[in-house]
Amino acid sequence: MEGTLNLVGYGLSAIGPAIATGMIFAAYISGVARQPEARSVLQPIAFLGFALAEALALFGLVLAFVL
């Protein structure tokens, strides 16, 4: 088997953002389900949280190729 350890590192580093994204949207969905009129307030917050978490995952992806 051939490969590089960078990919193992990328796999490990993707765990955190994956859990974070799941938690963000779980909270967003249950918030909107309880109070549908809160959607416009919650939506930007959820998207920004998603962007922050996703940035970390993409950081890992790019660094796996660069390093």
Binding site: Q43, P44, F47, A51, A55, L58, F59, V62, V66
Partner: protein
């Protein structure tokens, strides 16, 4: 048909969300790639090693700012 029309508001809302999620990922990826690529190019040119990281941080910051501009502010 009439049921659909009464649902139209919710429907377009969820379509907007789907659209927004895909474009957020696109923005983050291109921000990292463009500014990380510029940093990487400067690294090759000047013979340093840290500029690629600076570029990636700059790109990530800029694209999160862009996401906030597009989807965060009212």
């Amino acid at each position: 048909m009439s049921r659909r029309n009464s649902n139209n508001d919710n429907l377009s809302n969820s379509q907007n969300e789907e659209n927004a999620l895909w474009s957020i990922v696109g923005y983050l990826l291109s921000g990292l790639l463009i500014w990380g690529g510029i940093g990487w190019g400067f690294d090759r040119w000047l013979g340093t090693t840290y500029l690629v990281l600076v570029g990636m941080l700059l790109g990530a910051g800029a694209s999160i700012y862009l996401v906030w501009l597009r989807f965060g502010r009212d």
